[in-house]
Symmetry: C2
Subunit: 518 residues, 2 copies
């Protein structure tokens, strides 16, 4: 179901109930770009620590806009032995709520925009009809503003009063030439209290005169086109109107919170949220709809657990045993369906009233479809785990113990030796004493590095920038010899490595010794 | 005429000839935002110097995208006594040309996007079908790359050669298991030279095998779907193909230069270019299609004169005598047409084949229409100048001496005492010794400043940020007394002002004198 600002309010109940009844839900986001600084290969260095990766993504990816959010809910139907799915495709845009609300700036990366354009992405749905949103702080501020305005108004209404233009205490200064006019108005209004009329139409007046009237009469005034109507309002009527106004304000506030309400509903439900290579999706979701991302990775993990109490990354699952070896899961891991594979779609059925995705005619990179494929991917892999049980089980639920090992671990793209970010605990700390940090002239290519290290066995190169890289030796015992031989341009990743220093000093002493000797 | 990537090449001749025949042309741009930093009132402080204003706009406005460019050409028809107009509305987007071309990032400001959306702007035309562009340096780089590739290829073709898989000198290492296959290919290719066949279809092979073949045979190979076809090519055929290839490369290069070609044509024509409040339009045009803006204002002026040898800003014209007093020009200065005024549109007639704009049904904020209205504005004001001549003239051409005083002066928005940026000379340097720089707590409002200065006559406040502002006194003689009385929080705009210092030291000595006396 496609959801824009136009049908958001009407769709909200359907979204809430879909989340409520779901066994799990899959999400996917489309962004206006990936990196505003280094290119993707530098952004995802193979030897990043989890902290480094988080810091880089936070710095270089968060100024883009998450402008399409796909949610696909999966609810298992025992009688049909398949999942009933409800896919939603939300278009999102930070339309300013009023003059004082933040005027969001976001970056677009032309390659990303061009890619989405080539996939038939509809930018007008984002920019003209995107659903607005507020993060928690903005929402709190807006609530406060509304509350304040309401209190001010309540006080004003509580003690109806007006300041006579002749009174010198009042803040409104009435120029000489308008005094007559204003006095006439005052008289008429005062007469209104004593006569039987319910309303009073004042004579046409200029904007300035109207302003003077407003300033002078702190009263319940209703503007018409070019003249002012003054109404007597009895208590009951006043309460009714206030109630109306309160409701209207509440509605406007809810409209401004917009898509964040959907994210709050997901959080509250505590349901398993499945994504594919979902670190950026999670970071963007928190950044846009909750709060600016914290500096520290540990704090990020804590916030993540509040927003998404249970996560599962299919990319990590597919690259782990026993899926790693199965070609079809690898294929799924790239999230593209084999059109010939009619088995997979038979695992699900689209709920009534929802437009069904045709897997034969791929609609990849519409977030709703991507979320659907991601969920399908998860169902297929979960069921595959069931085949190892004795007796084998054809259906493994999202609550099964079998998939628990994959909970709350987010795939870390292209890191050689740390497959995932562990949201609920400390991260893996692989030994990296076979890794050298190497700097070189910017003309160097990977082949130059291979040549330099040719004497020390096979190597793996992870570029940092034009003039530096990490070089992993396959033979750990070669590290210090290597450091020593190539001493100037390399250093072991432990910068105070005793062995390295020993080699260097040894060489210096050796040199000096012979220098003085001869 | 609406121009996107789809019809750009076909429209180019029409654009060129419209520029060539025009008496003058009007331009207008739409941007993805205005300021990525301070809000507009801080960006356009009333007491900016031209240098400060340029620096601020360069810093805070250039990361937005100029994504719609309107050009309306005006050609006077003597027989009809009216201008024939040709309006063009170009959609622009920096679609990456190839993998090595720059991946442009630009900012969007949600309020600007929302405003354009409310005007019915079609974002898909920008993002899916925008015309690409290159600045001068990118164009030069691309030409160089193409040239280099061509030379390499020419050398390669000159000496057809291939390396046998058994040769140990060659860089291509053929693994043992593929040697048989590659050897079979070599035999077949060698046979091709001696037999009468013109082409040779090799047996289906894997991607890796294809790579091995390419590496092994440095020859004219044409890829087909899953197998390789090898052709014998005689000299004539080879030249023909090379010529074809050259032309194709040239065309691709031109496609990549894209919209910049239109801007080059405007520059080359030397025609008068009219804009409305056009400083940002000029800055964006140079920045996107020529070169990054220079640091220095003087350098910017020089670049501007190269790109637009003759400019006229209708906003400046309309705010100058004798137009300033005429309400209808003020109205035009706001660039909104009075629908009742049927006189203005009668000054022009849309050229055949161009969709005509209906001025009664305003299409403001489509750049082509805005350019049209700007040109109309200029024609009306120029003709009005003619009414002062004896005898009065009804038509004043774009080459008339009467409008020369307005050439190359760009309106400076909201600067109190410098109405324009003078592109061809030094800027005005109004006296500002009645201006005070004031700092204060961030809770202060304009009214607090009025109160503070109430003893010193009327003031004008130009906010700098939350805690500082320029305060202009209307009575210049009050400045130093004012500085003295309010000494802590203000200083005369000359920070080493002798008078101010004198007052301060006088007070200090006075104090010390009495302190020691008693």
């Amino acid at each position: 179901m496609e959801v824009t600002r136009r049908n958001f309010k009407d769709s909200l109940n359907a979204v809430y109930s879909a989340i409520e009844e779901a066994d799990f839900l899959a999400i996917d986001g489309e962004f206006s770009g990936i990196s505003d600084g280094p290119n993707v290969s530098a952004l995802t260095n193979g030897l990043d620590t989890p902290e480094e990766r988080y810091t880089k993504l936070k710095k270089h990816s968060m100024d883009f806009l998450l402008f399409q959010f796909g949610i696909c809910t999966f609810t298992y139907d025992q009688t049909k032995s398949k999942y009933i799915i409800k896919p939603f495709n939300f278009y999102i845009f930070p339309k300013p709520f009023n003059r004082t609300s933040p005027d969001i700036k976001f970056i677009c990366q032309s390659s990303s925009i061009d890619f989405l354009a080539s996939q038939g992405f509809d930018f007008n749905k984002v920019f003209c009809n995107g659903i607005p949103y507020l993060n928690q702080e903005e929402e709190a501020q807006l609530r406060e503003q509304t509350e304040e305005r309401r209190n001010q108004h309540a006080n004003g209404v509580g003690t109806p009063s007006y300041i006579s233009p002749s009174s010198s205490k009042g803040p409104a200064h009435v120029p000489e030439e308008h005094k007559d006019f204003i006095n006439r108005v005052i008289e008429k209004v005062e007469a209104l209290f004593t006569n039987s009329e319910k309303t009073l139409d004042l004579e046409p007046c200029t904007g300035f005169q109207r302003k003077l009237i407003y300033q002078t009469l702190n009263w319940k005034l209703e503007r018409k086109e070019r003249f002012i109507q003054v109404s007597k309002v009895d208590d009951e009527e006043r309460k009714r109107r206030e109630q109306q106004k309160l409701e209207k304000e509440q509605e406007e506030l809810n409209d401004a919170v917009g898509f964040s309400r959907v994210v709050h509903a997901i959080s509250k439900s505590g349901k398993l949220v499945v994504g594919h290579n979902m670190l950026l999706d999670v970071m963007h979701t928190i950044h846009q709809f909750y709060c600016p991302l914290p500096e520290d990775l540990q704090d990020f993990k804590e916030v993540t657990m509040c927003v998404f109490p249970r996560l599962l990354d299919t990319k990590l699952m597919a690259s782990t045993q026993p899926f790693k070896v199965r070609n079809d899961h690898q294929h799924l891991a790239g999230r593209s369906l084999n059109p010939a594979d009619t088995f997979l779609p038979s695992l699900t059925e689209t709920a009534e009233g929802f437009p069904s995705y045709d897997t034969a005619q791929e609609q990849l990179h519409e977030a709703g479809y991507d979320a659907y494929i991601t969920g399908l991917c998860f169902v297929s892999m979960a069921n595959y785990l069931g085949s190892f049980l004795t007796p084998p089980k054809a259906y493994i639920s999202a609550r099964s113990k079998l998939i628990e090992p994959f909970f709350n671990k987010l795939f870390l793209m292209r890191i050689i030796d740390i497959p995932y970010l562990n949201i609920t605990g400390p991260d893996l700390q692989p030994k990296r004493d076979h890794v050298l940090y190497v700097t070189f002239p910017k003309e160097w290519k990977t082949s130059d590095l291979y040549q330099l290290f040719s004497a020390f066995g096979n190597i793996q190169v992870s570029w940092i920038d034009d003039t530096s890289a990490f070089v992993s030796l396959s033979q750990t015992d070669q590290v210090h010899l290597c450091c020593f031989t190539l001493q100037i341009s390399t250093s072991c990743s432990n910068r105070f490595c005793f062995s390295c220093m020993f080699f260097v000093y040894f060489w210096v002493f050796f040199y000096l010794f012979f220098f003085f000797l001869f």
